[in-house]
Symmetry: C2
């Protein structure tokens, strides 16, 4: 399924040839892949964005390799797209105009975990789940937990400002990045930020780089803040009549001052997909919340009790408290596998990662259902209800359904903005949402960001076609 190839200037044949020559000369064949099979493997990510085969793939082993690749792109004037785990959901790692893909997965050393400073220093290609395991062995905790955690890398997490269920209590990646090394298109190797808990010297260049989707710089070492690992976690599975009831429940939990680790919502269509996959779920249930609480054992128990109390008060159908770690894992495995399970329901799926003020989640869902029905498009929604961050999935099999899917998606985005929300909570804008950016942001704010982009990348060669709308696409 090819979608949304942005109008980005393509490098000339001469420029591409020059780039290949320079890469070969400066990095050597072991670090530069140009054969068709290898290039093909780096043509897409885990989104529905149209693949594009790059001219060359650089496997960086260190910061100098990164600087060399950037210099070649600059000198030859070819685009360069940085890539870490390649698990992105909006096409951020797709080299939409060809050129060089710069892969940092080989730089995967956890360089330091310091219990007394509560920091970790990692190379950009460290896989998130490896970091989790390493810091938890030291009694520490790195909260961000996007669904892709077994394959995504820290560089990608930082580039997209990744979240995950635990963001409800602990915030997203930006809350944990103290400092960053970044290689820029101009050849600079800058160290932004700090290794200390506090630090306000100069502008927050680190924060400007976090969430910049690979368009401002290529990351080297990343310094992360860690927190103590919570002693215990308890999981509750709660069934409701419908999303309105679950929405009231979320509102009451917040109003009561409760701070669960996560509050995950599964809507009626999602529950049906789970039933179809063989899970026994009360047929009366039209919505589910999966709720984790954490802390020391007693705090956990007390919080679980209070959460269960709120659920009872709003008239939940069933409240199940996981009795042991195994039961907990089973509940979460089902949630984690949801994304894959949904993909099996139809040939194609687009998961739109939107956010609305949390009290407006049911209202948004009503609108989504109505619109999907009008368009005759199959949809199902799950996500991080505590944050108002939903993953609305649209499913289709035949390309002739696509105009209706596109109409449903555009209506979703318009509804999200109308309800005071934002187009993306954790997946980023990438290729797929770039045409819709003007729905959320003013022309002046977009122009300002383009100017910031030019400061970092005057030639516009670093990951072109991302974030900002290019002419001729979408509604804007």
């Amino acid at each position: 399924m090819l979608r949304l190839r942005p109008d980005v200037a393509e490098p000339s044949a001469a420029a591409r040839a020059k780039a290949l020559t320079l890469l070969g000369r400066r990095l050597g064949a072991s670090k530069v892949l140009t054969d068709a099979d290898a290039c093909e493997r780096y043509s897409s990510d885990e989104s529905e964005a149209a693949p594009r085969v790059p001219d060359a793939v650089v496997l960086a082993e260190n910061e100098n390799d990164i600087l060399t690749a950037l210099a070649v792109a600059r000198e030859a004037e070819v685009p360069l797209t940085p890539r870490a785990g390649g698990t992105g959901r909006t096409g951020g790692a797709v080299p939409v105009a060809g050129g060089i893909v710069l892969v940092v997965t080989g730089m995967n050393e956890i360089k330091e975990i310091d219990r007394r400073e509560r920091i970790a220093v990692v190379q950009p290609g460290v896989i998130l789940t490896d970091l989790h395991a390493a810091v938890e062995k030291e009694g520490l905790f790195y909260p961000p937990d996007p669904n892709s955690l077994v394959g995504c890398c820290l560089a990608g997490n930082v580039a997209e400002n990744a979240g995950g269920p635990r963001a409800f209590k602990y915030g997203v990646t930006r809350e944990y990045v103290l400092g960053l090394e970044a290689m820029l298109m101009g050849g600079q190797r800058i160290r932004a930020g700090k290794r200390t808990a506090k630090g306000v010297t100069g502008y927050d260049v680190t924060a400007t780089l976090v969430g910049s989707e690979g368009t401002l710089g290529v990351f080297g070492d990343i310094t992360l803040r860690l927190i103590p690992k919570p002693e215990s976690v308890m999981t509750l599975m709660v069934l409701f009549d419908d999303v309105h009831q679950s929405g009231r429940c979320v509102g009451e939990m917040i109003a009561a001052g409760l701070v669960p680790r996560c509050i995950e919502l599964l809507d009626s269509a999602t529950l049906q997909a789970m039933r179809d996959a063989g899970n026994a779920i009360n047929p009366a249930a039209g919505a589910m919340l999966l709720i984790d609480v954490d802390g020391d054992e007693r705090t956990c128990e007390k919080q679980a009790e209070r959460v269960a109390g709120v659920c009872d008060d709003v008239g939940a159908l069933e409240v199940l408290v996981a009795q042991d770690a195994a039961q907990r894992d089973r509940l979460w495995a089902a949630r984690r596998e949801m994304s894959v399970a949904v993909r099996r329901l139809a040939k194609h799926k687009l998961a739109e990662d939107v956010v609305v003020p949390r009290r407006r989640v049911p209202e948004l869902l009503d609108r989504v259902y109505r619109c999907a029905e009008e368009q005759g498009v199959r949809s199902l929604t799950y996500g991080h209800a505590g944050d108002g961050n939903l993953h609305c999935n649209f499913l289709w099999n035949d390309d002739d359904e696509l105009p209706r899917v596109d109409a449903a998606i555009e209506q979703l985005f318009r509804d999200v903005i109308d309800l005071g929300g934002t187009l993306t909570g954790e997946h980023g804008v990438g290729v797929l949402k770039a045409p819709y950016l003007p729905l959320e942001q003013s022309a002046e704010l977009i122009a300002l960001q383009r100017d910031i982009k030019r400061v970092f990348d005057p030639q516009g060669l670093l990951n072109p076609g991302k974030i900002f709308p290019t002419s001729g696409h979408g509604p804007c």
Copy 2:
């Protein structure tokens, strides 16, 4: 005491006259002050930076007034310095090249506190302590608590990325700013960020503005994240032989996974100043930690117990747990008044707000004591030991001591960088630290920030002379 007037281009007499004419015409006499007394009142902040009387003071009542003042500055080509509470400690609100001071304290409405979304929307001139009171009445909590909280405004807190003791557990202002309205020199009125818990659309322009010290834009409405108010707080006062013992204690607390709300350090000279002011403190004590723990009542008690246990284990001289709110308030009042009390010890005082990795606090203090002794300068230090963020005070009476004070300060900054730290944890760079910026940041990183500044303020008229070094000053 005049210190560090930066070399900044002064506006011509014609430009100043034009600005006054335009301000009078567009804003009217009630919003524009030009008499000598009024201008004098806006010539300085709470730092030792040299005062400079502006040509005019604009008292903004709304965003249009801000845009008008910015347009006048742009058209007449005169500098404009935004000002909120004027409580800054590094000269950020001093109009070092004259021109217009733009005061936002009249825009002081708390526009919204939403318990279910846990957000507040405030105008830029809301006083911090007023926000604290308003949100706590709703069972919510806004953690940042700089010492100036009865006089400082949210706009200044955001501009400086203010911290305070509670930052140890809860982080600094940037962790709580979801979105910002900002008026720019080009006449744009941008809405950056979001009202939702999550949101990663585009670059994090909000984070770029937070901590930009009034050099990138003038803030309108600020949208803040709130958290539930902790049920209880307990305070421990712990006395140690010396800062090395207190440093070991901090390290052990961190290693044990404890997260007190704050860990404040008072060094030997500070304790002596407290004794001199009539406080009865064990004469054997060479350092004090003031520690708050919070949470529900039982969590508090358990944490206090564990903290006390760690203190005993490292051999603390005395561990006092405040028995009631009154005792708690007395302990904290002494800490809060420290800054004022220290000012009474000598005619002049410079409080340098530096950060080192927390385990290196004792090492930094040893270096400070040695250097102060060598230079014959009186020093005392207190601050946020949990964050490694210290306020090193240098005291003097006669101007002929100043070269030695300057030498001690420069040595302090060099030591801080040598120990892996940063020049400022919460006060900002402003005028006073601008000459030292190159000690911490590379020429490339500074050049990049100057380029970002130019995107927001191409003529260099917004709060000139701040953050970046100007020629002819300091060691760099």
